[in-house]
Symmetry: C2
Subunit: 252 residues, 2 copies
DNA sequence: TCTTCAATTATCGTATACAATAGCATCAAT
DNA sequence: ATTGATGCTATTGTATACGATAATTGAAGA
């Protein structure tokens, strides 16, 4: 590429945003995001071993960056990091699952209370549009439906304008995906569309108490619809874990 | 070292916990904890630059481990990580500060609601004892008083038995320390002892609504007592930040 | 044939090496 | 004297190297 005016320095400093020029730290972020998505979409299944070498090789980076990503994912509870035994996709216990859902209910209640009466017209419209999408994708296309339902909650959190609240909601949402992958029914509808509709209505009306209440019960419903169903202990892990623990052994 | 019974395999697997034998990953953890404490105790002041080399040298580890610690601390919002410019102790804006306090109020309300009516006698007694300590350290020894007040909230979170809730409360507490270091009054009493006493009483009585309400107002009081006092923009940073931002510059 | 021990291999934990970038100082030109 | 360019230095981003630990496999003995 030739520059018509190579003498002037300033225009160059503006970091050309060409697709080729990846700024540093970007690749680490990419690894993190790739793994995160893979876990949430269950391409990497709960409990699966995550060797640093093979993953780095696959993604075209060194172990260093993979390790960095593991660190972040471990903080978020998506991978487990055992000393000298490496990383594996987290396999939350039922107790941890309950903890996550409890916290999630609390956080999303905050979201509802914050948003009640403070939605702009544009925001309300966007939420309605989102629910419409959910309705369209309802019966067919299971994964898409699940993704949309999750996104609804994320959008709500974003609308609060509270960055920390958003981060926490994202984190518990991710972990809920994992949890439902393990303990959820195959076709639990996740979020009933009508419940989302009612919630929007309450937010619009500025009825904080009702909005919070709806959100709380909505998430509670998700739990009872999906969770609480160890579905026949489909995994030997679940069966053996208590025995292993009582013997002081670590589950493989 | 000689083993009297080297044939039996089981006793060996118990990993001897000799003080000399540091298990791997331990050193990384140590670096993390050291930096965390240093930041919270304001040995490392907000905005201070954190060069990887010097810190690693000081702590006797390589940049690798320092970097790992930075990653975790960045997730928790205690350090800021800018590409190619390294790490520095976080310097939360007033807006971020408000976000943190809002989330904290929500989280601790959860704690209060969870604990109300569920305190064992032993737990109640421990809390009373803690408050007694706070009272003793009230006037004198500022730092100690602040530490105790913070610990009270951590102990409450621990008593819920919800590991995730505990982690979040710890995180927001850390960040609140940073925030108060920047925006707090020199001698804000932080937590009024009487408010802690009232809270314990409500928890004991099982009055969830009153407990939540007390907690909420207690933390709100902390904010108004301490925060909201940019104390005369004592730092040029605060003054220049908006201008720098509007010009796309990053504050040094 | 089954158990037990030992050697091998795979993988991790940490340090170091090397390349890239940003900040700074020096110096020339107007 | 001030402004802008240019090379130097410090520090970061990433990869690789090496020692240490755990998994595995194979062999030997019962």
């Amino acid at each position: 590429m030739t520059w018509s005016e190579p003498r002037r320095a300033k225009p160059e400093t503006k970091r050309a945003k060409m697709s080729e020029t990846r700024q540093p730290g970007q690749r680490a972020q990419s690894v993190y995001k790739a793994l995160r998505r893979a876990i949430i979409e269950q391409a990497l299944k709960p409990g699966m071993k995550l060797p640093e070498d093979s993953i780095g090789e696959q993604l075209g980076v060194s172990r260093t960056l993979v390790r960095e990503a593991f660190g972040r994912l471990a903080v978020e509870g998506l991978v487990e990091l055992k000393p000298n035994r490496g990383a594996s996709v987290a396999y939350p216990t039922l107790e941890e699952a309950r903890d996550v859902f409890d916290v999630r209910r609390g956080l999303e209640r905050m979201v509802a209370e914050t948003l009640a009466g403070n939605l702009t017209a544009a925001q309300a419209a966007e939420l309605e549009a989102h629910v419409a999408l959910e309705e369209k994708a309802h019966g067919r296309d299971g994964p898409e439906s699940i993704r949309l339902a999750g996104e609804f909650h994320i959008r709500l959190a974003q609308m609060t304008g509270n960055a920390l609240l958003l981060r926490y909601v994202q984190e518990v949402s991710s972990r809920c995906s994992l949890i439902l992958a393990i303990y959820g029914r195959p076709h639990s509808s996740e979020c009933a569309v009508s419940e989302h509709r009612q919630l929007i209505e309450a937010l619009r009306a500025g009825d904080a108490a009702r909005a919070a209440h709806l959100m709380d019960h909505h998430l509670q419903a998700v739990v009872t619809r999906a969770l609480l169903t160890p579905r026949g202990e489909r995994d030997i892990r679940e069966v053996l874990a208590p025995y292993a623990l009582s013997e002081g052994l670590t589950q493989p």
